[in-house]
């Protein structure tokens, strides 16, 4: 009797445990499937360059013709110029960018060990600038900011994009992903509407790419200047008549992390040229 009761209690316990597992497992599976399933498989990723014209490709390929190289040159000067209270340059701490900055941009956005914040490369540069160099931060989208990021990002040419979405980065990734798939604006389109469902097709005269972030900043002929990824995202938001989020805003940072995760393995190509 007593034994039977114990057994049935045990069975009930196992049953409850199974029930709990049964409830938890589908939830976790659904979560895993919905949040890290890749809509574009890794072996089908293509950088934006693949969707531009031959003229643009030629311009980007030639470092003497690529207008983005003017920003790279300016960035190299900034790298080597002492600034701030202690008169230090980027080079004072990091030496030759060609080795010290190789592959760095490919890991961003990333959680900063000190501040525990998600930083993209622009924000990381500014953290060094005001924290270590004690010089005024570069203004978002300023010529100097575009120049230094062009210089730093160029050192990751050929390095595959690979960001972490573990730990504290995870919630940013989830928010970025949710943003990416939410239809917004008066035109009611999501990023995925164009860049996952319709890449390769034409929106009037423009061929839609997969919307990859691996080659920013870009020199855009339409802008006649250099622009950051966030500037490009604002152009997409403007197109669908959605609220324009500021360059460097938390929402755009989260999307940037999602885009970088989505671009895993694509090689760095900065500075890029676009129509």
């Amino acid at each position: 009797m007593a034994r039977g009761a114990a057994v049935s209690l045990a069975v009930a316990r196992i049953g409850a445990a199974l029930l709990a597992v049964a409830c938890a497992v589908p939830a976790t599976l659904a979560y895993a499937q919905s949040s890290t399933t890749r809509v574009i498989p890794l072996d089908q990723l293509k950088s934006g360059l693949a969707y531009t014209g031959e003229d643009v490709r030629a311009l980007q390929a030639d470092d003497f013709a690529n207008p983005g190289m003017l920003w790279v040159e300016r960035g190299e000067k900034i790298w080597n110029t002492p600034a701030g209270a202690d008169g230090k340059s980027c080079a004072s701490c990091h030496g030759d960018a060609k080795s010290s900055m190789k592959g760095v941009a490919a890991r961003y956005p990333a959680i900063d060990a000190k501040s525990k914040q998600l930083l993209n490369i622009e924000a990381r540069i500014n953290a060094s600038r005001s924290g270590d160099q004690k010089a005024p931060a570069f203004a978002p989208e300023s010529e100097d900011m575009l120049a230094i990021t062009a210089y730093v990002n160029m050192q990751s040419r050929g390095v595959p994009v690979g960001v972490s979405i573990d730990g504290a980065a995870r919630e940013h990734f989830e928010r970025g992903r949710a943003f990416y798939y939410t239809r917004r604006g008066q035109m009611n389109m999501s990023c995925a509407t164009c860049h996952e469902q319709n890449f390769g097709k034409r929106l009037f005269a423009e061929t839609i790419s997969q919307g990859q972030p691996n080659d920013f900043p870009i020199y855009r002929l339409e802008w006649q200047t250099m622009g950051s990824l966030h500037r490009r995202l604002r152009a997409c938001l403007y197109g669908v008549r959605a609220e324009l989020l500021p360059v460097g805003s938390p929402e755009l940072l989260d999307v940037e992390l999602f885009l970088a995760w989505r671009a895993q393995g694509l090689k760095g190509e900065a500075p890029a040229v676009r129509r």
């Binding site: 939410t182 239809r183 917004r184 604006g185 008066q186 035109m187 929106l203 009037f204 959605a242 609220e243």
Partner: protein, 158 residues
């Protein structure tokens, strides 16, 4: 001839034009700027009654389809006379033969009601949208009269 936003008042009063105009003026003052289709206007996959008392102007409708602002239909659709267009959507030649004015009206005004997951924007809908820029919030892309103009043009594509 200023395009008037559609309103419930306006529609029920359409039978008596002078009175309708008076009521429409009152409605303009009294109602918010948005003007979406009411469920009662939709029948199966169509909106049988015109949204305004003024018949659509096909020439103006054509200009709207080609305009780089607002409607900008050729962003996605090819139309016979446009030298250039996008190809995200099926070409519109022959659409006036395939679909009636009533069917075209619902597709232009709110294609979601025909194809719930369509990528085509709803041109006469201001609600059920997320993150709309302040200057467009509560407004439709096209006015009721512009929808009629576009429908009139589409009917010529036979």
């Amino acid at each position: 001839m200023a395009p008037r936003p559609f309103s419930r008042l306006h529609r029920t009063a359409c039978a008596r034009p002078a009175f309708a105009r008076l009521l429409a003026t009152l409605a303009l003052a009294a109602l918010p700027a948005h003007a979406d289709l009411l469920p009662a206007q939709i029948s199966a996959d169509s909106v049988p009654r015109p949204l305004t008392a003024t018949p659509g102007d096909a020439a103006h409708g054509r200009a709207l389809l080609l305009a780089r602002e607002n409607a900008n239909c050729i962003l996605c659709h090819a139309i016979p006379e446009a030298r250039f267009s996008g190809n995200l959507a099926p070409p519109l030649d022959g659409v006036g033969a395939r679909l009636s004015a009533a069917q075209l009206r619902l597709r232009v005004a709110d294609n979601r009601q025909v194809h719930p997951s369509t990528i085509m924007p709803s041109y006469f809908r201001s609600e059920g949208l997320t993150g709309v820029a302040a200057q467009y919030r509560g407004k439709t892309v096209l006015t009721a009269q512009e929808v009629e103009d576009v429908v009139a043009y589409l009917q010529t594509l036979k």
